[in-house]
């Protein structure tokens, strides 16, 4: 199990790292899907099968598909403009250092506190559902409202672009 855990975790981290350094958005998305599937495996190993399934279906599936749609929509020649010098060390060093400090802090917190022993137990979908529709019912309602707002907002924002600006683009081509 440990081996599997490390392989999956490393895979997730590495492919996420590669994803952010891609020039082509489709390539980045593919790496990201690998990363999500790797994380899904880690979830499963940590005893959260339901979350693992959702990670694959929703994240690697639905959300990434949204990205793919958008990338397809904007598939204009020359859209992948040059982020000039973006992968030079100078542009990279600042954010990387900041992130590094954050990671060091997290690691420090994790290993400075004594680790007890906790047996890993499986928490199955049934338990999650009971919790979700029991004490968390209100949160679920709020999440549904957020999703509705997202739906309406996205429709409203993208609606006019699709008709008016879309025609403009046609004109360009």
């Amino acid at each position: 199990m440990n081996t599997l855990f490390f392989i999956a975790g490393t895979m997730a981290a590495v492919s996420a790292g590669i994803a952010i350094f891609q020039r082509n958005a489709i390539h980045a998305l593919l790496y990201l899907i690998v990363s999500f599937i790797g994380l899904g495996l880690v979830f499963f190993l940590l005893g959260a099968p339901f979350a693992a399934v959702l990670e694959v279906i929703i994240y690697a599936g639905a959300i990434m598909v949204l990205f793919v749609f958008v990338v397809m929509m904007l598939n204009v020649k020359g859209m992948w403009y040059e982020e000039k010098g973006i992968f030079r060390i100078g542009a990279f060093i600042g954010p990387a250092l900041l992130a590094l400090v954050l990671v060091i802090e997290v690691f420090y917190v994790l290993w400075s506190t004594p680790a007890g022993t906790y047996p890993l137990t499986m928490v199955g979908p049934k338990k999650v559902s009971i919790s979700l529709f029991g004490p968390y019912a209100l949160a679920v309602e709020l999440a549904s409202m957020a999703l509705l707002a997202g739906l309406v907002g996205a429709y409203h924002l993208a609606h006019r672009i699709g008709s008016a600006a879309g025609k403009e683009e046609d004109g360009h081509e």
Binding site: L98, A99, E105, Y108, V109
Partner: protein, 630 residues
């Protein structure tokens, strides 16, 4: 029946609310009906209550109607309670009936004015507040009414607010009376602080127990109450607002600035007379103030040209008589004079209003003349009003009330010969100036064409006030003349009578003769001066000493000038010095600091999303580090 007491103030407030909220859309007749009708209802209610009160007086001649508790904090729980005793019965009857008659007259006088509904609304509000003032059970409620009538006075003086002068007059009235109101407020604080109650009766009962006669606290409390009364009643030295207050519509002048509101100070002192009894120095000050006021105002009235200003000075002077009476302890006489004064002064103002209206808003009496033939009805009513004001003996209300004051001033221990003589001189002046108006306005050659009064409302109102001016005096006739003491007997439970220092019928006869000589002599003097030798009088005023004297009196003894030099100009000078406002520097510094910080923080708003994200991340790193290592 006494339970309907609360209806008396409720009606006018109802009328006010209705006119203010829905008045704009109503036809004029309906507005008049609501405006005058609610006060009429109030007057009827007041009459029923009064009849009931007189027919079967409640225990101790006091009826308290507790409506609700106003507030409740610790020991301090003033109630909204109405207090009915003989004094408030008199006040309520006068306020409601005179108010109704004046509103009835207003339906004619104000007809066609743009602010018709507004006028009636304000007048209703005024009547309501005045009733609260006179019916209040505690000082707090009294103060509410006190400020309420002040507000209405302000609103009505500035009623024609499109002219700057009127607004100025309204502001002046408001600010000058505010000085007195502030004194009154401080006085109420003092009373509450020392006596631990604001209930008027409790406070009045406790005051003599708590305070020694003539002690500092007693004198301070009485002096502060007097301060409030001086402001509201336009007595020296706060009298300057009243002549300017004539900028308001004439019915307003009649109701507020003659008949009722300006006598609120008299009511206050009569109501709180216990406080003055234990402060003899202040009570003497009341008498002296009254005496001076009546002389200053009476002499100023002699030379005014504006008919309403003459009447305004006359009002100040007559209220001065009431203060004189209060000062010598003739409480009942003072209230009696308040009542007759309300009748004849309202009458005079309403007559003056008709003349002014008939001559198309002409105020200068020297541009009038010959009105006797043009407006005979107004002439006769004005004649009776003037006679009453001049205390023409035996037939007028003013005679009985004013002579009662003068007589008691003479014989009461607190009075004396000097006050009495001041009163007599005032009486002489009163006769001169009141008949001066009559002779100049109604005699002589007629000037312009006039429109006749064809209003039943106005004539009814004038007739009623005329009758009241005459018969109002017969309820109190001195002993040698017939000995009717209905009025003083009625008020006896509230306002005790002092025992005179001088007694004897002989004294009274001497007094009567002197008083009648003064009153009739004044009329005769006016006849000589303004009918027979009018030209000589006018030439006298153009000479140098005459001119100086004339201007001195015309400006009301130059009080406005004194205040201007002593208070207004230094204040304006100070404000000019402080134009930069040094007290604002502190706030400017705050503003500058905020501006500087803003300027700095603004530079972080680069519009670059990644910088914002970086800032958030940096903040997260710092805070996590902070939590970790501390």
């Amino acid at each position: 029946m006494l339970e309907m007491l609360w209806l008396i103030p409720a009606f006018p407030f109802l009328g006010f609310a209705f006119l203010i909220l829905a008045g704009a859309r109503l036809p004029q007749r309906l507005k008049a009906l609501i405006g005058a009708g609610t006060v009429a209802a109030s007057a009827v209610a007041a009459t029923i209550v009064a009849v009931r009160f007189i027919a079967s007086p409640p225990e101790g001649s006091v009826y308290v109607e507790r409506l609700w508790n106003w507030m409740h904090t610790g020991n301090f729980n003033p109630a909204v309670a109405l207090y009915l005793d003989p004094l408030s019965v008199v006040m309520v009857l006068v306020v409601t009936w005179v108010g109704f008659l004046i509103l009835l007259y207003s339906t004619y006088f104000m007809a066609g004015d743009d602010g018709f509904g507004r006028f009636f609304a304000y007048m209703d509000l005024f009547v309501g507040f005045m009733l609260i003032l006179v019916l209040a059970d505690n000082f707090l409620l009294l103060y509410l009414g006190w400020e309420g009538v002040g507000l209405c006075s302000y609103l009505l003086i500035g009623f024609w607010y499109k002219e700057e002068e009127n607004v100025r007059a309204a502001l002046k009235a408001f600010i000058v009376t505010r000085i007195g109101d502030a004194a009154l407020a401080v006085g109420l604080f003092l009373i509450y602080y020392n006596l631990d109650t604001l209930n008027i009766q409790e406070a009045a009962a406790h005051a003599p127990e708590e305070w020694l006669i003539g002690s500092l606290a007693a004198n301070a409390a009485a002096a502060l109450l007097l301060g409030g009364a001086l402001g509201k009643s336009a007595q020296l030295p706060l009298q300057t607002w009243l002549p300017d207050a004539m900028a308001g519509p004439t019915p307003t002048s009649a109701l507020i600035h003659a008949a009722t509101m300006v006598t609120a100070g008299v009511y206050l002192i009569a109501r709180c007379h216990t406080f003055f009894v234990i402060a003899p120095a202040v009570q003497t000050a009341v008498a002296i103030t009254g005496a001076f006021t009546l002389l200053v105002a009476g002499s100023s009235a002699l030379v005014q040209r504006d008919i309403k200003r003459i009447l305004a000075y006359s009002t100040i002077s007559q209220v001065g008589y009431m203060f004189l009476a209060l000062g010598v302890g003739a409480w009942a006489a003072s209230v009696f004079h308040f009542m007759t004064h309300a009748f004849f002064k309202a009458l005079l103002f309403l007559c003056a209003g008709l003349v002014i209206k008939a001559l198309d808003n002409e105020h200068d009496i020297f541009n009038m003349g010959g009105m006797k033939r043009k407006l005979p009805f107004v002439f006769w009513t004005f004649l009776i009003g003037s006679a009453s004001l001049s205390a023409v003996p035996f037939v007028t209300g003013g005679f009985f009330s004013k002579d009662l004051i003068l007589f008691q001033t003479w014989i009461y221990p607190l009075g004396g010969l000097h006050l009495f003589i001041a009163g007599l001189i005032g009486s002489f002046l009163t006769s001169i100036y009141s008949f001066r108006i009559l002779f100049i306005v109604f005699y002589g050659e007629a000037g312009q064409e006039v429109e006749r009064v064809k209003s039943r409302a106005a004539t009814t109102s004038l007739t009623a006030l005329t009758i009241l001016s005459i018969v109002g005096g017969y309820i109190e006739i001195p002993r040698p003349l017939g000995n009717v003491t209905i009025f003083s007997d009625f008020l006896k439970p509230v306002l005790p009578e002092a025992s005179p220092a001088i007694t004897g019928t002989g004294t009274f006869i001497i007094f009567l003769v002197v008083s009648i000589i003064c009153s009739l002599g004044g009329i005769y003097a006016a006849y000589i001066l303004f009918i027979i030798k009018r030209n000589q009088v006018e030439s006298l005023a153009t000479g140098v000493p005459g001119n100086v004297l004339h201007r001195f009196l015309f400006t009301g003894w130059g009080f406005d000038l004194i205040y201007d030099v002593l208070i207004v100009r230094p204040f304006v000078y100070l404000t000019r010095l402080n134009r930069g406002d040094i007290f604002d520097l502190f706030y400017r510094a705050i503003e500058f600091f905020c501006g500087a910080v803003y300027g700095f923080v603004r530079t972080t708003q680069t519009g670059n999303v990644r910088w914002y994200a970086a800032a958030v991340a940096f903040g997260a790193v710092v805070f996590i580090g902070f939590v970790m290592f501390l």
